[in-house]
């Protein structure tokens, strides 16, 4: 489905997502319209779901990041959906993933400081429905961030 030209665009763009279609066209030495059409097609076929701005929560005063690993009580019908719907309503939850494995769901939760974390954890997290077990990993540092894929 993808041809070489698509791959060249994505390879370059993913290492420098700031580039515009014109920048990409300049670097690849092709007309801008050609790059624009390809990007449109990548969006239409769903290969490119979108381009998002990345927010630095620490710059907004959210210095604490916690990864919550959750096991859901699977004896309850609809427990997953109920939990996920409730978790989406907690503003400090920035990411939610589901897994096959020992962990069912994982939430990334941010907080301004430890006092804020403690109140969030008690009032908003532990009150989420159908939690069988919960375990927290406190984020210390990001050593490597999502890097370009060998497309």
């Amino acid at each position: 489905m993808l041809d070489d030209f698509d791959r060249r665009i994505l390879r370059m763009w993913q290492t420098e997502p700031e580039m515009t279609a014109a920048d990409l066209a300049g670097a690849l030495d092709v007309p801008t319209a050609r790059v624009t059409r390809r990007i449109e097609r990548l969006r239409e076929t769903g290969v490119l779901r979108g381009v998002s701005a990345v927010i630095d929560w620490a710059a907004l005063g959210y210095g604490v990041e916690v990864s919550l690993r959750i096991q859901i009580d699977k004896t309850v019908a609809g427990a997953f959906d109920a939990f996920m719907a409730a978790a989406r309503k907690v503003p400090e939850v920035t990411e939610m993933q589901s897994f096959l494995g020992r962990v069912d769901l994982r939430l990334t939760v941010i907080a301004r400081d430890m006092a804020h974390w403690q109140s969030l954890y008690r009032d908003r997290i532990l009150t989420l429905p159908h939690i069988a077990e919960i375990e927290a990993l406190m984020h210390v540092a990001t050593v490597k961030t999502d890097q370009a894929l060998p497309i």
């Binding site: 489905m1 993808l2 994505l10 763009w13 993913q14 997502p17 700031e18 515009t20 076929t45 769903g46 290969v47 490119l48 779901r49 979108g50 381009v51 998002s52 701005a53 990345v54 927010i55 630095d56 929560w57 710059a59 907004l60 005063g61 959210y62 990864s67 989406r88 503003p91 400090e92 939850v93 920035t94 990411e95 939610m96 993933q97 589901s98 897994f99 096959l100 494995g101 020992r102 962990v103 994982r106 941010i110 375990e135 927290a136 990993l137 406190m138 984020h139 210390v140 540092a141 990001t142 050593v143 490597k144 961030t145 999502d146 890097q147 894929l149 060998p150 497309i151």
Partner: protein, 152 residues
Amino acid sequence: MTAAIDDLDRAILRVIQTNATLSAGAVGRAVGLSQPAAWRRLRRLRETGVVKGRELNLDLEKLGFGVTVFLGIKLATKGQVSLEDFERAVSAIPEVRRVEHVLGRYDYRLRVTARDLPDFERVLRRRIMALRGVGEVEANVLVSEERLTGPL
């Protein structure tokens, strides 16, 4: 240091979180600002580091990377292997796309992207388990993932 933002900035952030390629004019229209006013705010959000960059949201499966696995890693011999050495070695593995140092049951959390399960197994056995100092490893295969707006 915390950057001060107001409700209009928050509205702009919500817009560009899902669509970072909109022009300043389009962002302005979405939040009720003129093009120059939106442009100034976008520039300030970047300059103050609130917006730290952009990322492409790619459908990995359509690109041939069918498996994403999160690994929790506990170092076996803390004190004997330097964290820097471990971090350098694990970061050098191309399939390891994210490395986070954490506190808790595990010491590190890795995001690994592979073509399929056999490919993942190869990376796990030959590259990750072969690293010095790796103790307990837990693998969870990603099924679904959603990014949420966050406290804006």
